[in-house]
Structure formats: structure tokens, C-alpha cells
């Protein structure tokens, strides 16, 4: 899988975002064993300390867990995965709303547009 890093944002936060997306989208499956820190760092072309820092944060958020001898795994906890989806949905809606507000749409117009869109895709 390709990793692309943007300028001006710390790399470890970009790794956190990318891995969160992979977990949310199921490209890393629940319970899947992750590669070693070094292999992930190689894959992403980043410093192993940076990768380690990102994984520690993902662990803190409960998205991955480590087992002392056997490595790191994606969480199996359905509750965590569900709330991850909710969080991401909120984030995307915020981005969408932000863009629509920028082109001058009111809350009402946005609701209208969203409802129309949902009706159309059904």
C-alpha cells in the first residue's frame, strides 16, 4: 500500500490518520496482526521512532493492542470500531458542511441538499 505524506503536518500524525483509515475501512481486519515496527517503517519510508510513536498513540486510543511476546494486533472490540466510524462520519460531515458554507449555503439549504442526495441514491 502506498503512503503519501503531506508537507507541514507531523509525520506521526499522518501515520495515525492513515492507519486509523485502514482500520476503519477494514483493510486492516479486526484482530489482524500488524507487521513489526521496523517493517512498517520500511514500508512507509519513515524513521522507526516515528512509526513507534504513532503505534503507541493508536494503542492509547484502543485501536491496536500489543501482546507482550507475539506482537501488535488490530482491536477486535466492536464497540471501538463502531465509535471510530461515528467519529469519522462526524469529521467528514464537518468537512462537507465547511465546504458548503464556504460557497454560501445556509443550514437549511445544506439539509435540503443532503436529503435530496440521500433520496437520489436510494
Amino acid at each position: 500500500m502506498e503512503w503519501n505524506f503531506k508537507n507541514g503536518i507531523p509525520i506521526y500524525t499522518q501515520i495515525i490518520d492513515e492507519m486509523t483509515m485502514r482500520i476503519a475501512s477494514g483493510s486492516y481486519e479486526p484482530g489482524e496482526k500488524l507487521q513489526s515496527v521496523r517493517d512498517l517503517a520500511l514500508d512507509a519510508g519513515v524513521n522507526p521512532n516515528t512509526m513507534q510513536r504513532a503505534l503507541a498513540e493508536l494503542e492509547r486510543r484502543g485501536l491496536v493492542y500489543s501482546e507482550r511476546t507475539s506482537g501488535r494486533f488490530v482491536t477486535n472490540d466492536k464497540g471501538i470500531l463502531d465509535s471510530l466510524h461515528e467519529e469519522l462520519a462526524v469529521r467528514y460531515f464537518e468537512e462537507l458542511e465547511d465546504k458548503l458554507r464556504k460557497i454560501g449555503m445556509t443550514g437549511e439549504e445544506i439539509t435540503g441538499a443532503v436529503n435530496k442526495w440521500l433520496a437520489d441514491i436510494k
Binding site: 505524506f5 508537507n7 507541514g8 503536518i9 507531523p10 509525520i11 506521526y12 521496523r38 517503517a41 520500511l42 512507509a44 519510508g45 519513515v46 524513521n47 522507526p48 521512532n49 516515528t50
Partner: protein, 231 residues
């Protein structure tokens, strides 16, 4: 104890001050970018760390030792130009490294040399400029050293090899070693760096972690470099 401790280091060449009151502490387990424009003192600093030049004032300690015979055992140095006898073949140079350096891992060197498609029977003289650079880097990185001093390791090689070299640096990463990479090709290496040091006219104008810089300044290390060193 820091792996490398530089205290008020000054180096003068006649009336020219190449390094001006430089103090740095570098801990093990780090990959450090020594960044600065041409003539900013990068190579001078690396040569002092390697014992090829002596300070005019100030002190340099590697594992609490002054650069010398003791430190050469643990410091792997890639010079900015070829320093190897070019009448030797790849195989002979591997033998030379094995003779000189206890920490040389011949199997590792052979694997890298084969990965990069370097002819083992060819003399260095007949190799292209890029291949010479690749070969030297393989030899240096195959040492299991505690300090790697890489002076412009990616300057003369093509982008695919550049990626291979960066991957080599990552895969050789060792918690006990410190890797110092001097370069002005920043965008290529910045994702690999822990720490960034900007040298300007012989002075350290900035020393921070790469991610802190991105966070605080909202730009890449490369963009920041272009600003600080704008001509």
C-alpha cells in the same frame, strides 16, 4: 551520557571560520539530518567527528572519547569523495573492510551489493560515479557501528537507488547507533529523520525534531530550509 557531545567547537582555516562555537548533544537511537547550504561547515564538522581535522577550540567526545583510534572502531564514515583504492575490485574492497574493521558484516555487504547489481569482479576505477558511491555506501552501512557519519550519501545516485539507500538506513536502524546524514537534498530524506540541525555559516541556527518543526511552522523541513537560507 550522550553518544556524541560537542562543546563550543570552533574550527578556523587561516582567516576563515568554518565552525563557530558549535555545541550539540546527540543521543543514541537517532537519525540526524545535518543540513546546510554549500560551505556551511557540514563536511568540516563530520571530518572533526571522524578525527581527520582537529578543532581550533572546543571539545568533541564520542562515547566520552576524543576522536582517534578508539573512536574509529565504532564510527563508520562515508566521505564526500572516494577515499578507497580504485584499482581494487568489489570483492577485494570487501576484504579490505573486513581486515580493517572488526564490526564489518560481510554477509550484509554482499547482500546489499548484489541487490544493487554491483559487479563483484569489477575494479572500482571502471565503475560509473554513481556505482562507486553505491559501493562505498554498502561497505560503510555493512559495519555494525555505533556512529554512522554519512557525508552526502545520496548526492550522486538516481532516485531508485536513493530510495534503496534510505530503506537501507531504515532497515539498519539500531537503537544503539546514531546516524548523521549531511545533505542538501532535504525533501528526499526528511521522513527518515528524527532530528534536524541547520548549519549556517558555521553556526547551528536550529536544532529540533523534524516533527516538531512541521507542527510548529506548518511547513516541511525542506520549505523551512528554503526560507532560512534564502539567497
Amino acid at each position: 551520557m550522550a553518544r556524541i557531545e560537542i562543546n563550543k567547537l570552533t574550527k578556523e582555516f587561516g582567516s576563515l571560520t568554518a565552525l563557530d562555537d558549535v555545541s550539540l548533544r546527540l543521543e543514541k537511537g537517532q537519525i540526524v539530518g545535518l543540513l546546510g547550504p554549500n560551505g556551511s561547515g557540514k563536511t568540516t564538522l563530520i571530518k572533526i567527528l571522524n578525527g581527520l581535522l582537529t578543532p581550533t577550540a572546543g571539545t568533541v567526545k564520542i562515547n566520552d572519547m576524543e576522536p582517534g583510534v578508539g573512536t574509529k572502531k565504532i564510527v563508520a564514515y562515508l566521505p564526500d569523495r572516494n577515499a578507497l583504492p580504485d584499482y581494487m575490485t568489489t570483492d577485494q574492497l570487501m576484504g579490505l573492510y573486513a581486515d580493517f574493521f572488526e564490526d564489518f558484516n560481510a554477509a550484509k555487504a554482499a547482500a546489499m551489493i548484489d541487490d544493487l547489481g554491483i559487479d563483484r569482479k569489477q575494479t572500482m576505477k571502471k565503475m560509473s560515479k554513481g556505482t562507486k558511491e553505491k559501493l562505498q555506501l554498502c561497505l560503510v552501512m555493512a559495519r555494525e557501528a555505533q556512529v554512522y557519519l554519512l557525508d552526502e550519501p545520496i548526492g550522486g545516485v538516481d532516485p531508485a537507488t536513493r530510495d534503496y539507500i534510505l530503506r537501507t538506513i531504515i532497515s539498519n536502524y539500531n537503537e544503539d547507533a546514531v546516524v548523521i546524514i549531511s545533505t542538501h537534498l532535504i525533501s528526499d530524506i526528511e521522513s527518515v529523520l528524527d532530528d534536524v540541525i541547520f548549519l549556517k555559516e558555521g553556526r547551528v541556527v536550529l536544532h529540533d525534531t523534524a516533527d516538531n518543526l512541521r507542527e510548529e511552522k506548518g511547513e516541511s523541513v525542506d520549505q523551512l530550509f528554503r526560507e532560512v537560507f534564502k539567497c
